[in-house]
Subunit: 596 residues, 2 copies
């Protein structure tokens, strides 16, 4: 991780430029940007054509956000994220959107604009870009994170990347996209004002209102107000925290909590787990480490990665000499150390998880450690976080895991402020499950947007805006594609169904060899079971299973049944019945017949 | 569900007696109770022998609570609960404690005393009683719920059941057990004062302090105080909510919320999901139904079951004619109906789940419905609850799912009150994960209990109290037994490991027939896969797998390798390598060799 000379601190508006050598060595190779404008004078957009908007992900779900704006012969995509698998998507690594429609219309796509660098907004890019290559537009940090992904997938240099800053406007076909500064739990987040012949649309991306941000400026509320005065046709708004009343607290509030905990942790080593992407949080940790005279080490691949990029680009200001390599931590007294680590969601194999299970190659947790989990469990992760907390406590560490975090998403009052500033004709809640969308819709109603102008849509449903009027105009293919290992889309519902069956009650394989001519049983049946019962204790059941299968096969032979499908069916039925009666379980039964 | 005549309401202290006919028809067959005392004058306990306490479940976990008190030649068991499987216990129905030690010492067990009727306190009884039959002591509702379980397991009439009331004391060997009224989220809950030659112990069971309980009296704080003055050696205390500051609100607070919602739901049908065991909640729903002129129908097997028992025993007071059968609801206008239902945790196949997925045989949810989920998600269930909420909203119902519940477990201030009243020499936090136990321990420290007198123990660890001194004295077998279908304990770590493997990446079965004498390949290999890839799209991969397997088998034949173990190993290794290289997945590979 490179460090900036504190004498020339990076100014908030323009992240510090890397040194020439560093720039040459590590700066991403970027094309000359397409002509675009900085500042408020924007290229004009000729009105007239209808605008269509369709989301291919991110509605009625949290994750895989991707929305297409289509006007005339041009398509602009906003974001391209992944989703994490549900608990019933056994063995699946991640979920990406079905982009059949994009592939079909690839010649009309003018570019992808990215609101920020979270996985649910950029994570599907490597997979989608392999299907349809498109130029990308995003802030510096966002594109740096994208480049890391492209590299992992062997796409370095094959995709055009255009760096933008808040205030810039880019012309994409008959539409323009203006980037507007917002606050979120990752730096470099923007909202978009998409000006089209069919109207002016504002897409908030993920945002909150933070009056005291750690880096950069407060969300550009004035610009939302100006747009509202110009006339916003449609507002697509983040619904994640629409159920929560009040305001989301500023990121600096976490700083206050950290300050108290740093003081409390005097004499102990600090281990702080947080989201790798939350550079602002890491900045505060670094600042307090300096204040309290501690060194900082970083653990966890994604944390090392993101912090490195952030420091290089100037989003993270680190005093020289403060950071030490994780391999060198034993050279320093524990009470002078802070370890910043991944694993705030209790993820298996994260650095904190390995520490909790005494499996980390450098960090051995004990009573001299004070652990802070600076994150809230994402819904679904509560038990995995609990497990790690319990294990760390067993090792003797003091663990603080509550109230050292604030959300990155706006709550009800903030949402209403943006709605009121934009004063849109149409309100389209996005980025949420159905209940979130409904709640956001009710907020819009509460500030006076008429019910008929509030659009609850779904992925694949095409919205058309024409001369101030709206209607749904059909659907396009949309859905999920499961990624497992290197396979994309080859794990579908049948494979999942089978995995579920195997997971529930295991498997019985029945193998027999029969004579091809006569159908007589030549060898077997042999029974092999996995995941069903502990065989050593269930020998009589296994033997009874074998005998039952044998009876069926011999009956088939006697009756001259040679159609394999029929034979297998009968074996399956007989064994299912037997095993259910005996065990009330239904293992998968797989008859395999060899012919000699 | 039988109803009581409102003219003679059941008094809180003594639940109404069923009519003679009903009593004869349905009253549980109970033995004449062992001699026991009502009121404050208790049989004396001769001091002298050391007392040993060991928990076989309920420590460092939530669930399967069971504790044994051993003094001289006598053992008394407190509770016998089950736990629900973790997400990694694939296909497992429930988890019960390993009671090897109880079976070994069965001749010394004088009885099981039950604190209340929740599954994590009584759910393992049918399984354990089959291994060691013991007399049971509990309040009327608790034993009625136990009887339902015994009936399901064919144990009716085979177990001695003794009904007790708060204030009663039972002599069990050299120990006495006094039952003390407490408040909890199920009626008939008690704490225990266990007087032994080795000291007086108080076990709180699950409790809260409710100054305005719906049924029965407030927790008998005075009695805890009296015991504290007599001298409590050890206090075993519920740690579930030890992390939560303040007080748990009274059950009546939910009533206030319900009142508001009943008013808001005017003109719509009400559907209210809550825990079947929370009779107090159902009572309030019944009361408001009457107030607002609605009928009540009940849906869900456990809800019908528990409400029926509760009404029969007088824990639930229902005005005559208020309740209608679920099959009759169409005879009444929707706005005059409240349906009380199971499914507050989003459990698959519960009544509310079936309603949400349009699969309920009587209830079709739509915009005329107002659904209330009167429960908080138990940690781990957040996403299942969300799913049901989203589906119900999609059907057009209004859904309220937050803040219509209070916990049944004491928070920090209540815990400290009981600690202060009891003034125990030793404090033993129970009923919680490690973090809960640690937090409860820190509360004890905060009110002055010395650190050396605070005992964090674990299942299987034996605590000995002798003349005011404490030490650990070894361990007994303790752990978990998995129940799957009718099988108890035959799903162990190997079976689970296999299920996990199958769930992750599926399975490849490789079947070949070889000549027994020469080792030559006679038929096959055939490849069958399940849960791995969608075969139709992966034919070339499957073919390559088959060819690789064939090459290995032929090589083995050529090299005269006839040892099946070796042949299978080589096939497994070759295929694992191939498949991982091609797919980055590791399906289970099952070679099966038939010999002719």
């Amino acid at each position: 991780m490179t460090t900036n000379n504190p004498a020339t601190p990076a100014t908030p508006e323009r992240p510090g430029q890397p040194s020439a050598a560093a720039a040459k060595a590590s700066a991403p190779r970027r094309q000359n940007p397409r002509p675009y404008h900085r500042g408020r004078r924007k290229p004009t957009v000729k009105p007239g054509l209808p605008l269509r908007i369709v989301s291919l992900g991110g509605l009625n779900e949290i994750g895989k956000n991707i929305t297409a704006y289509e006007c005339g012969d041009d398509i602009v995509i906003v974001d391209c994220g992944l989703a994490f698998p549900d608990s019933d998507m056994l063995g699946v690594d991640l979920v990406i959107p079905d982009v059949t429609w994009l592939v079909k219309n690839k010649d009309r796509i003018r570019g992808v604009v990215l609101t920020h660098g979270h996985e649910d907004h950029i994570g599907a890019l490597p997979y989608v870009l392999k299907q349809v290559n498109m130029p990308l537009y995003g802030t510096e940090l966002t594109l740096a994170l994208v480049e890391g992904k492209l590299k992992e997938h062997g796409l370095t240099g094959k995709v055009k990347l255009h760096v933008v800053k808040p205030g810039d406007t880019v012309k994409l076909g008959c539409m323009t996209v203006e980037f507007i500064n917002v606050n979120h739990s990752i730096a470099g987040s923007v909202a978009l004002a998409i000006n089209t012949p069919g109207g002016l649309f504002v897409q908030t991306g993920d945002f909150k209102i933070d009056c005291t941000p750690i880096h950069g400026e407060m969300i550009d509320l004035a610009r939302f107000g100006e747009l509202g005065k110009e006339g916003v046709t449609g507002l697509l708004m983040d619904s994640t925290n629409a159920e929560r009343p009040g305001y989301t607290l500023s990121e600096r509030k976490v700083g206050e909590a950290l300050n108290t905990l740093f003081a409390k942790a005097e004499g102990k080593r600090l281990i702080i787990a947080t989201f790798a992407s939350n550079v602002h949080r890491v900045q505060q940790i670094v600042d307090y480490a300096q204040k309290y005279g501690r060194h900082v080490a970083v653990s966890g691949r994604s944390m090392v990665n993101v912090c490195g990029i952030a420091a290089e680009l100037g989003y993270l200001r680190v005093p020289e000499g403060l950071v030490v390599d994780i391999d060198e931590i034993d050279r320093f007294p524990k009470e002078k150390m802070v370890i910043v680590t991944t694993g705030s969601q209790g993820e298996a194999m994260s650095a904190l998880y390995r520490m909790a299970y005494s499996d980390h190659r450098k960090v051995v947790v004990g009573p001299d450690d004070f652990v802070i989990i600076s994150a809230n469990p994402i819904p679904g992760n509560e038990k995995t976080v609990d497990r790690v907390v319990n294990e760390l406590m067993r090792l003797g560490a003091e663990v603080v895991y509550e109230e050292v975090h604030v959300s990155g998403h706006a709550r009800q009052e903030e949402l209403k402020i943006i709605m009121s500033l934009c004063k849109p004709t149409y309100f389209i809640p996005v980025h949420g499950e159905y209940k979130h969308l409904m709640k956001n819709a009710s907020l819009a109603r509460s500030i006076g947007i008429p019910d008929k102008n509030i659009i609850i849509t779904d992925i694949g449903k095409v919205m058309e805006f024409d001369k101030g009027n709206f209607k749904f105009v059909g659907t396009v293919p949309a859905g999920r594609v499961l990624v497992d290992g290197t396979g994309v889309g080859d794990v579908g519902s049948i494979v999942l169904r089978d995995r579920k069956h195997l997971a529930q009650d295991g498997l019985i394989v029945v193998v027999a060899t029969i004579d091809g001519a006569s159908g007589a049983l030549v060898a077997g049946p042999d029974i092999v079971s996995r995941g069903f019962v502990y065989v050593r204790e269930s020998e009589s059941l296994m033997e009874q299973t074998r005998l039952t299968a044998r009876d069926v096969l011999m009956d088939c032979a006697d009756a001259h049944v040679t159609e394999w499908g029929t034979i297998k069916s009968r074996v399956k039925d007989a064994l299912s019945k037997l095993l259910y009666e005996r065990t009330k379980r239904s293992p998968m039964i797989l008859p395999v017949i060899m012919e000699v």
